[in-house]
């Protein structure tokens, strides 16, 4: 039995919206799992059901062997970090962190020791007497983390905790969260809509769309073998190129271009996906196109072009000398393409 088990979880809001549909998921002790998906896909709802802040319409959640469907949030022993931190504005940092411990009837001395330890760990020990209104965004974030850590819960739940920070701080906190999670080994679930966060943080990623789990896997699995067209498009930056095409006897026809897939597939309406950095540019490539636009990103550049009327992009080293309007030659290797059946969006 897994540490956290979700079985056929469904959530239907009173107004009839189905936020989560028949979701099952097992999470092992100590794992760092990221729920990722576009906004409104149900990932936060799922997290809040684990926390006990939303009722479960149907299904079963068990934590550490106990079914927790009906257990009060305060007794589930989970800690949550909210998007807006939800610090207690009238309490000092110390009391913010100590509050949950006080409610659990822990002695004052022990609270003191615990809070101070965690404050040192997060480097907020200088701020313990301050009120949240006197803290910067990053410091608030740390306090929110500290408040979760100090309780030593069974699970950490993070609800988009980095989205209120600026880009630099976000990267820094991301690393820190990862480091802390490794160090403490507490099972964690992190909700985000940012695929970079998902890729860098998670031991496993759960891609959710429209209340349904599209794919569960390690970042590598998800990136290299997306199960559905949605996952293919959602994960990876820049986005994967998807060409609508017809496949006959293992040859894909995209406009006037032919790509040999080295198999014997036959699909009338398929999508051929290839990541922008998997398009191999070389002077003796089989195909040629005109670069419509070149985006220079420092070490890399992105070329936007068209095959027939379908746009695509390639990412390559900016050492290559190529300007907008130039013609370039490239190859698409059959080992690097992802094929999806357009009738159901699933991988072939």
């Amino acid at each position: 039995m897994s540490f956290l088990e979700l079985q056929n979880i469904t959530k239907i809001y009173p107004n009839g919206t189905k936020a989560v549909n028949e979701t099952s998921l097992n999470i092992e002790n100590g794992e760092f799992v990221v729920f990722v998906g576009p906004s409104g896909c149900g990932k936060s709802t799922l997290l809040r059901m684990i926390a006990g802040l939303e009722d479960i319409t149907n299904g079963k959640i068990s934590l550490d062997g106990n079914i927790i469907n009906k257990i009060d949030p305060s007794e589930r022993d989970v800690a949550m970090v909210f998007q807006n931190y939800a610090l207690y504005p009238h309490m000092s940092v110390f009391n913010n962190m100590a509050y949950g411990l006080k409610n659990r009837g822990i002695s004052k001395e022990e609270i003191n020791i615990k809070v101070n330890d965690v404050a040192k760990l997060l480097e907020i020990d200088q701020l313990l007497t301050r009120k949240p209104s006197m803290l910067s965004g990053g410091q608030r974030q740390r306090v929110a983390m500290g408040r979760a850590i100090v309780r030593n819960p069974k699970i950490f739940l993070f609800d988009e905790p980095l989205s209120n920070l600026d880009a630099k701080l976000r990267n820094q906190m991301r690393l820190e969260i990862k480091r802390l999670q490794r160090q403490m080994g507490v099972t964690s679930i992190f909700v985000t809509h940012d695929q970079t966060e998902a890729m860098t943080l998670g031991d496993r990623i759960v891609v959710i769309n429209n209340g349904v789990v599209e794919q569960v896997g390690t970042p590598k699995e998800i990136y290299s073998k997306p199960n559905t067209k949605f996952v293919a498009e959602f994960i990876g930056s820049p986005q994967m190129n998807l060409f609508n095409c017809k496949i006959e006897n293992g040859i894909a026809y995209i406009a006037d271009m032919k790509i040999n897939l080295n198999n014997s597939t036959n699909i009338d309406d398929a999508s051929l996906g290839i990541r922008p950095d998997d398009i191999l540019i070389s002077d003796n490539g089989q195909h040629s196109c005109v670069a419509n636009l070149v985006e220079y990103l420092g070490s890399d550049m992105i070329i936007y072009s068209k095959i027939g009327d379908q746009e695509f992009s390639c990412k390559l080293s900016s050492k290559i000398n190529l300007n907008a309007g130039d013609t370039f030659k490239f190859d698409i290797s059959s080992t690097l393409v992802h094929l999806f059946d357009n009738s159901n969006g699933s991988r072939v």
Partner: protein, 283 residues
């Protein structure tokens, strides 16, 4: 420092406003320190006189009324108890009922809120006979409970607390829940401290409201031991008109000045709290 003409003008207007409000009080106070003869012959005073202790002593300790037993000091105590009781209970009850209305999602919360709100249309003066009947049937005439109880519900305060609670982000409640706070703890540890400013403001308003009650204590009390300051004005202003004795103007002004003190003190004391709450934006 240079002053622009507009600035000078606005300051003059402000100073005039202050004078307009403060001067009558100063006149009353100055007059209250003179003896009755000089007031009678010379009219209202601007400068202080020498009868301060005599006038105030007399007002506070002289026994008046028909029973010749009640003193102004006693009436101050009564008023204070009544105002304090009304203000405290009004604030506590409104805060709690607003808490129930906002945080406990029972089906009839909205209709109940409007029902409470509608009671604004039925102030005590309108329902004074039924209220009196109930209180007297309960045997509460001539008691502090009877003075306070019919006035402790407040639609206004409930409304203000409700509006305030609605601005508190849901995450705060959720976070508190995960931290193991039950509904009682959330009220005590979160809502009350967060609404400090609101509590102080409401307490001030309600204290003044309770202090200035006239009709209700008048009807409620037959025993002069329970008379309030506002009712006492009647004694001090109506007696001594027969005969040749001088009107006791000095004492009357002393009484007026004294009767203003408790509300002023409450405002002055709580104002600090009130302003502190306003300066520390804690959200």
């Amino acid at each position: 420092m240079k002053f622009k003409p507009l600035e000078i003008l606005t300051h003059i207007i402000l100073i005039l406003g202050v004078l307009l409000m403060v001067l009558p009080i100063w006149f009353s106070f100055a007059t209250s320190t003179h003896d009755n003869v000089s007031i009678m012959t010379e009219g209202m005073k601007f400068f202080l006189g020498e009868s301060f202790s005599q006038n105030y002593n007399e007002v506070l300790n002289e026994k008046g009324g028909w029973s010749e037993e009640v003193t102004a000091a006693r009436m101050f105590v009564n008023s204070f108890i009544m105002a304090l009781g009304i203000a405290t209970l009004k604030v506590v009850i409104s805060a709690m009922s607003a808490y129930a209305l906002v945080y406990f999602r029972f089906k009839l919360a909205v209709p109940i809120f409007w029902l409470i709100f509608i009671t604004l249309l039925v102030p005590l003066e309108v329902r004074i006979f039924p209220s009196y009947k109930i209180v007297s049937d309960l045997g509460l005439t001539n008691t502090y409970t009877g003075l306070i109880l019919p006035l402790v519900a407040s639609a206004t305060a409930t409304f203000f607390f409700r509006q305030f609670y609605k601005t508190i982000p849901d995450e705060l409640l959720e976070s508190a829940k995960l931290d193991g706070a039950n509904s009682w703890r959330f009220f005590i540890d979160f809502l009350l401290p967060l609404s400090k400013t609101m509590l102080a403001a409401m307490f001030i308003f309600m204290f003044v409201y309770g202090y200035s009650q006239y009709l209700w204590p008048l009807i409620m009390t037959t025993d002069e031991k329970y008379w309030t300051v506002v009712m006492g004005m009647k004694i001090i202003f109506t007696e001594n008109y027969e005969g040749v004795a001088l009107p006791r103007t000095g004492e009357r002004f002393a009484y007026i000045i004294l009767s203003m003190l408790p509300p002023v003190l409450v405002v002055v004391i709580l104002q600090r709290w009130f302003i502190k709450g306003l300066i520390q934006t804690e959200k």
